[in-house]
């Protein structure tokens, strides 16, 4: 940390751009760098595996085979290679996490920016709503909504687009539900930032030049909120991944034969019995999920140190 500040101080003297300074500080954060490296490798592997391997979904005769040279992570109840399943699960978990986090970003930023910029009665109304939603068990609503509206949405998709629509309906509800539970913190943070920015002189200057509210919001305020938004997007990502695996674990998320990390862990937990322990069916998906969440958390913390100087508790 000391070196980091020293370096950034030097960068400041050399008159380097804020982005470069941010990069220099980030580079010195070893956990965050290792986490991003790990994430890159994991994502590349998860994306490329279906192209490299031919055995990912093949049903071989080897049911419940222990990890070996042929199957690095062993095989599951249907004899599928667990390594490929875990990578496929990682891919889906990450995708759901990313889309869910983006949904939360859209809701949170528009909600917070509106509240902060309009101020007064609107601010009060919008932020009181956030307070109320904070104290409600939102995930319970997500469970109820997924189980009830799935059928409605599926029927609507069938009528409108044809086909079965079951999987699409489930995925859409999953994205919307996960986004809908995780935007609250984002809204609060964006509102705080916008409130502070609104009083700054460049906004006043823009207004005195005759710029409209929407133009000021889009061109001057939102770009300045960007850094903080990125930080909290990264911190929302593990939370959404966690919720998704939780729902999949309960059987409300990804449906078989597709896999997410949560449903893989559930499959492993279903095979627990006192006679033979198929430890690999729990250990590998669980380890992968833990490593993924950990990397995302380290990355988020590193980005927060860089982009959000107020959160830097060292000074």
């Amino acid at each position: 940390m000391v070196e980091a500040r020293h370096q950034s101080g030097q960068a400041l003297e050399n008159g380097e751009s804020p982005n470069r300074r941010a990069w220099l500080r980030f580079r010195d954060n070893r956990p965050a760098m290792m986490a991003s490296l790990f994430l890159l490798v994991l994502i590349a592997l998860a994306l490329a595996w279906p192209l490299i391997s031919s055995q990912s979904d093949v049903h071989s005769e080897a049911q419940f085979a222990a990890p070996s040279g042929g199957h690095w992570f062993g095989t599951d109840v249907h004899g599928r290679d667990l390594f490929g399943r875990v990578l496929a699960g990682t891919r889906i978990s990450l995708m759901v996490g990313l889309v869910g986090a983006l949904v939360s970003l859209v809701i949170g930023v528009s909600w917070g920016a509106t509240a902060g910029f309009l101020g007064g009665r609107w601010d009060n109304l919008l932020m009181r709503t956030v307070d109320v939603l904070y104290s409600l068990p939102s995930i319970i609503f997500v469970i109820v909504i997924i189980t009830t509206l799935e059928g409605v949405l599926q029927r609507w998709l069938q009528v409108t687009f044809g086909g079965d629509g079951g999987e699409t309906a489930r995925m859409l509800l999953l994205y919307a539900g996960l986004g809908a539970v995780s935007w609250l913190t984002m809204a609060r943070i964006v509102r705080g930032q916008v409130l502070a920015l609104r009083e700054r002189q460049f906004v006043e200057a823009a207004r005195s030049l005759g710029l409209g509210t929407r133009a000021i919001l889009w061109r001057h305020i939102l770009p300045n909120v960007f850094g903080v938004v990125i930080v909290y997007l990264t911190l929302t990502l593990p939370a959404v991944v966690l919720y998704e695996s939780f729902l999949s674990y309960l059987g409300l998320g990804i449906q078989p034969p597709r896999a997410s990390l949560g449903s893989l862990i559930a499959e492993g937990a279903a095979q627990i019995n006192p006679i033979r322990v198929y430890w690999w069916m729990i250990a590998f998906p669980a380890g992968c999920l833990a490593a993924l969440l950990m990397a995302l958390n380290f990355l988020g913390d590193g980005l927060r140190d860089v982009f959000d100087p107020k959160a830097d508790k060292d000074c």
Binding site: S135, L136, P137, V144, W279, A283, L293, K313
Partner: protein, 350 residues
Amino acid sequence: MSLYARLAKRFKRPALYSVAGARAWFCAVSLAYFLRRLATLVPLVLVISFLAFCLVRVAPGGPFDKERAPATPDIERNLKAKYHLDEPLWKQYLRFIGIGFEKRNDEWRAFKGGLVRGDFGPSLKYRNHSVNDIIAQGLPVSLSLGILSFCFALGFGIPLGVWTAVRRGRWQDHVGSFFSILAVCIPAFVLGPVLIVLLGIKLPVFPVGLWGGPWHVILPAIALGTYFAGKVSRLTREGMSQALHSDFITTARAKGVSERSIILRHALREGLLPVVTYSGPLLADLLVGSFVVENLFQIPGIGVFLVSSSINRDYTMVVGLVILYSVMLLVLNLVVDVVYGLLDKRVKYG
């Protein structure tokens, strides 16, 4: 006029000049705030119950779809009539709330039961039980699991957080922080199966499931509490490091207060504020985690019912549980707010 000013008017201001008077004043303000917030919960709970009530009925399928005997239209009609599912939606809702009248034996009588009388109605799936029965059976189990996990989280999280904050930047901090971030990345449904395999099957120390003696509680409580212990420890560390850098700590040091007293009496009070703020969402997450843990360890709580009854379209059960959870969380959050005010005297209730 703000609440504060209104109370000040009613109270005799000179009361504030004595310590006892100031205390009484403070308690009065907190109590008034608590009661006022409590009153705002009533319309909120009504809105939530209405939404949940409509939502479950919008879903395709009904509670009697999965009957063992294939239901003839007659049987289904009779069943629906028995549970009043053939009435228009508004009437069903009023009946559920318990406000309104109906013609019974050619006489207008008030609805029996209903939410206002604390009655959630009969379960549509477990026909011999009312929702109240099921809640009365399961809630104590779920609550004791939740409270134990909460204690576990605080009991491990706070000391670890304080320790890492005090040893900030040294190896103890790095090791402690690593463990707390590791704990945050291991949700209950990961830790649970691992604990079952290791401590239940490989080394048969604890029972692998069910509910009974104190031995049954340990594994579920650890599985559920570890995640929160990590979170609490991270928050404590953040709050404590901030508190240890503030001016009043420097003053205390200059006055020669012992280091132990500085940490435990002065800094901890300030450093725990983030934890208090977090306890509201923590309780919500605890509920969520309890679904998984109850499912995993086959614990007869109410968490298992929410998912199953909402798939089975057990209308009354879903609505009852949603209301129960919402009320519990809203009230607990309120308590957290008041506790926060008691700890941090700078908070003013507007």
